[in-house]
Symmetry: C2
Subunit: 501 residues, 2 copies
């Protein structure tokens, strides 16, 4: 096979894999929004078949041959193709090392485990989920052995989500941070500041909330011609492709902030996907670079822009227009306070911007300890509760509000949680650099995101997966990942809000 044939075959195979991925993504969107009740079982089956077909292509003999020829002729390739080859080769090597029967068994296990988890959560009984989780960790340990690791077995799993990260790097970033966050939370808990929460407590018409959601998405620049806004029990963003980036939000009648900030959060993810450069989005480098950078965009729009006093001042007239009665005696400043209240909660996804990071550290520490065999799966619930007390001062009264709240481990996402926290850190670091070039406060006060969006497109979005997370951070901020800006941001914001010394 000559280079030309190899490149053509390689591209065709990637096109097929891409087509399957897009079909599966659409099925996911559909099943979480309008799919009829009885169809779920068959959809899961169809998705499993298509995913198997995807993996068969990835680890196929064909793929192996293409990659060999292409790697031997790598100098002839353009820059983008080089990166595509590198990325696919990495994926190939990862999955080729795992025996395919074992991988299929594992996927069958995770499908069953998700159901078992839902059942266990419903019954608030960790014992029902434990046997499944034990097996999942066993498989993961075995996969790490097959795949090998450098430094620490957790690094191999982490690599699936954060290619540049290692336990050593994470510890360097997280350890100092944890002490500072816990200290800040303790100070806030001890402060006498009374937060006015009238804004969050009203009754808000769902249809009006949809209008508000559309309004804020338009402001932040979500392209409605290249996406659809839907509703689902769990908010998400799905990039079927660059021109088909779907947001699912959700609204509650007795609560306005959940829907508003879900929309802005997902809008942040979506802007990323919609802004990847055209040349890149035609390749396997399409889509935002994985996880932490992606999460940084969502959290930046949600918290650093969406919860900023200037943004709230800008949308205040719209809130008055849509909800004249509810807003009657509330000022923009009071809204600002109520959407930034710090309050220790049991549930991660209900937690505020500050305590959220500690929820993540807890999970990271636990999954790592299980992998290191320092603790067993059977200890997870108790240690979970101990850490909750240590970090946030509250103890979950049951497993549903504790160890059973997240699906991640049960679908096999071990090593995934750190990305959420890295996202917060990176968001603050990027905004710090951006603020030297752009008057962010003024942009938010004017509801004009054009400069912000342009900066992010230029420095982050356009690259898709053609840069690594580390490259993106370094090229845009001039240094490696640094939690300092996140701490500064939090201390300033909450110091003012809670009148801390």
């Amino acid at each position: 096979m000559d280079v030309y044939e190899a490149k053509k075959g390689f591209e065709e195979l990637l096109e097929k894999m891409n087509a399957i991925e897009q079909a599966v993504a659409l099925m996911y969107c559909d099943s979480s929004t309008i799919e009829p009740k009885k169809a779920g079982e068959e959809t899961s089956k169809v998705i499993a078949i298509l995913q198997t077909e995807f993996f068969k292509s990835l680890v196929s003999e064909q793929m192996k041959q293409y990659l060999e020829v292409l790697k031997n002729n790598i100098d002839e390739m353009d820059e983008i193709t080089k990166k595509v080859i590198k990325r696919i080769n990495k994926e190939y090597e990862k999955y080729a090392k795992i025996p395919s029967t074992e991988y299929r068994e594992y996927r069958e296990l995770t499908a069953k485990s998700e159901k078992a988890w839902a059942d266990a959560k419903e019954n608030s009984d960790y014992n029902l989920a434990k046997p499944y989780l034990e097996k999942i960790f066993e498989y993961n340990k075995r996969f790490v052995k097959y795949r090998g690791y450098e430094g620490h077995p957790y690094n191999t799993l982490l690599d699936d989500y954060e290619p540049d990260s290692t336990v050593e790097k994470l510890d360097g970033v997280f350890d100092g941070l944890k002490i500072k966050l816990v200290t800040l939370i303790r100070k806030i808990q001890a402060s006498n500041k009374q937060i006015n929460t009238k804004f969050t407590e009203g009754h808000y018409d769902i249809e009006k909330q949809r209008q508000l959601s559309k309004y804020v998405l338009e402001i932040i620049g979500y392209d409605f011609d290249a996406g659809v806004v839907t509703e689902s029990a769990h908010p998400y963003t799905m990039d079927i492709n660059k021109n088909n980036v779907r947001i699912a939000s959700r609204f509650f009648e007795n609560e306005i902030t959940a829907g508003l900030y879900a929309s802005i959060h997902e809008g942040g993810h979506a802007r990323y996907e919609q802004n990847v450069d055209d040349a890149i989005s035609k390749t396997a480098l399409r889509g935002g670079v994985i996880m932490a950078i992606h999460e940084s965009q969502a959290r930046m729009y949600e918290n650093m822009f969406g919860r900023d006093i200037n943004f709230i001042k800008f949308i205040f007239p719209k809130l008055q227009e849509l909800f004249p009665k509810q807003i009657e005696n509330i000022s923009a400043e009071e809204i600002y306070e109520s959407v930034n209240q710090v309050k220790a909660t049991f549930i991660r996804i209900e937690s505020d911007e500050l305590t959220y990071s500690l929820h993540i550290m807890l999970r990271y520490e636990l999954e790592r300890m299980v992998l290191e065999e320092k603790i067993g799966v059977e200890d997870l619930n108790n240690i979970w509760n101990q850490k909750m007390e240590e970090y946030l001062g509250i103890i979950p009264p049951n497993d549903k509000l504790g160890v059973l709240q997240d699906v991640h481990w049960y679908d096999g996402s071990i090593g995934y949680f750190p990305s959420y926290l890295l996202g917060n850190i990176i968001a603050a670091q990027l905004v710090n650099t951006m603020s030297k070039e752009i008057d962010i406060e003024e942009s938010l006060l004017q509801g004009d995101f054009s400069k912000i969006n342009e900066w992010l497109k230029e420095n982050v979005h356009q690259y898709g997966k053609s840069k690594t997370p580390e490259e993106i951070i370094k090229d845009s901020t001039g240094e490696g990942i640094n939690p300092k800006y996140y701490v500064e941001y939090l201390e300033k914001k909450y110091g003012e809000l809670y009148d801390l010394k």
Copy 2:
């Protein structure tokens, strides 16, 4: 390869093909309802890749080998598996005979032709579409040569849609019918009967029309847990699978009958799909038997039930409730008259129950003559207009209202039109038999479809593709397809409505 291996491999391959089909069906549903504007191009590309994958599997060396082993051991198979093998073998032989490059070229051509057709229709200029249509007919003639034919080249194309039909059989059914239909239409056109059309002329709130649509679908027994009702520019039913049967209806503010009867028509299709026996819907025999029988169900629910005076009497209170002003001075009888008015129209899909059949005959005669090379593609618009005058007494003033109105030929569906007319004929024949066992009038008057639905499930729906159309008709009515009942039905209904002697 032993039988066991062949059967296992065969089933796995079919499962993969089924998964691809379902994904493509969902993509179609999505793209016609909520897909964002900019996503269309990529979706077409992805669908084309998945369909190529489907055809590669169908005509693969693997498939060939499986079929050989299975055919050699056919006696060991159960009845359903025998039929599955027969069906897939037929598909295999069809496509294996066509060189795959030519087939791909053809599919690229039809994709382009659909766009050219839309453009030509927009400009009402047949010249813009003609070169594409010429090529499409050329390909089809060539494919017929590859595939071979018995009796008449049109039979091979017809076989794709109506496995039991031949030109000879169709002519036997259609020829006598045409004269009777034309005679009946002439009589109606000469009658002095004035139809009250107030019902169709009002302004009807779209949201209320949606409620009406839901109401009638509930009455006819559409299972909302195994389907979704959406809206699209062109109404359709898509069976992603038995538990996921989607209807797209559409509503206009200045017209109520289009939306109402689109919903009932598609509801008829959907009931078929939702009622296929579970054991069959797990196989490649899933889904309703192709075309004519399917269309018979849609037309039966739409025209023979939905436009029946008894059904209209039953839904009359609901119409009054939803549209009190519009219905104020209209009786159920007047609604009956207005939804059954016979009026020659240029556009097939806007035509009434009676003239519709002549629209179909015209198309059948034209496509057949081109295939026989009795006329050329360049003559189609003129002969179209001549036949319109002959059958319906009107001449299309332009190509948009004439030869350019349907997309079928441009997407390659040559030989497809006869099924529509066969559907009308079969519907009348089935209802004639059903009426001997069930008091249909009383069922409609009570809005109780349970007996009707049970009869159809028992005689038609449950079988999916495990029976041929001919078997279904013969087993349920005791005779072969017979247009007599259709003529009787029309003559009785319109004789009364138009006071004909």
